[in-house]
């Protein structure tokens, strides 16, 4: 299974990757993108199975990425890993087609719980 991690912070991409390994997802293939635009290109080329995306990024935000994907009828499983966890944003994410929403700071257990619902 291919997991795409999207975050404009290299440090955070590394932390997400490490937490995924600690949560038992280390056998999966990881790739990274620094913003929504880069992610969109990678998704077109590599068709990942799951996308974990930050919300607030330059060039293209996470919600813009998700909206673009659903607009082109791409049904890749998509979740947010973001520092902003307000009810309004969670609702907007769900409405746009997100499968899960994890708030930073997160634990490996939180990622495991979120991903277990979308990875069979």
């Amino acid at each position: 299974m291919r997991i795409l991690i999207v975050d404009d912070s290299k440090a955070m991409r590394g932390l997400v990757r490490r937490a995924l390994r600690q949560a038992g997802f280390g056998s999966h293939d990881f790739s990274e993108a620094a913003n929504g635009k880069e992610a969109l290109d990678q998704i077109h080329q590599q068709a990942p199975d799951v996308v974990l995306s930050d919300w607030n990024m330059p060039e293209m935000s996470g919600i813009e990425l998700l909206t673009a994907l659903r607009g082109e009828e791409c049904s890749v499983k998509f979740g947010f890993v973001t520092s902003e966890g307000t009810p309004e944003m969670k609702q907007a994410a769900i409405d746009a087609g997100a499968s899960f929403f994890v708030t930073k700071p997160f634990t490996p257990e939180a990622l495991e719980e979120a991903l277990s619902g979308v990875i069979g």
Binding site: A11, L15, N56, G85, T86, K104
Partner: protein, 163 residues
Amino acid sequence: MTPVALADEWAAAAAAVTGELSESMLGLGEHEVLGPVERPDRELCGAYLPMHTTEGALYVGILSDTSGIRALANALLGEDLDAEIAEPELIDAVGEVANIVGGQMKSQVPNGGTAQLGLPIFAWKPVETPSGAQQRALRLRLGSVNATIVVVSPAPSTLFKKE
């Protein structure tokens, strides 16, 4: 809300969230709010996060001296606090700390949920407070790291430039 009240409210939230974060995710140990200062020392550097709230624009800064900033970056990365770290990684990591603090602050302040975060900006010296703006600075001890939280309201529009 006046810029004074806005700065007070968000500064208190920033200090509380930074303290909690230092004990949890950063693993720095117990924190303590040491009290307000008129302005941050000129030697301090750190990351600023612009925010648009329903009450006005502001920015939040997390500042320390160079060894403290290195410690904060290393703490996020799970490294020894005094480990060598390249400048781009330091700037990226401290910006992410500011980003997490900003996100958490939104749930600490009434009507904060609708605030919009900008992108973090790193500065090697404290950003000058614009004429007429209100600044609040609070000194914190985060484990062994001394830090200063700064909130300025209203924020200069140049901080909201889309990268």
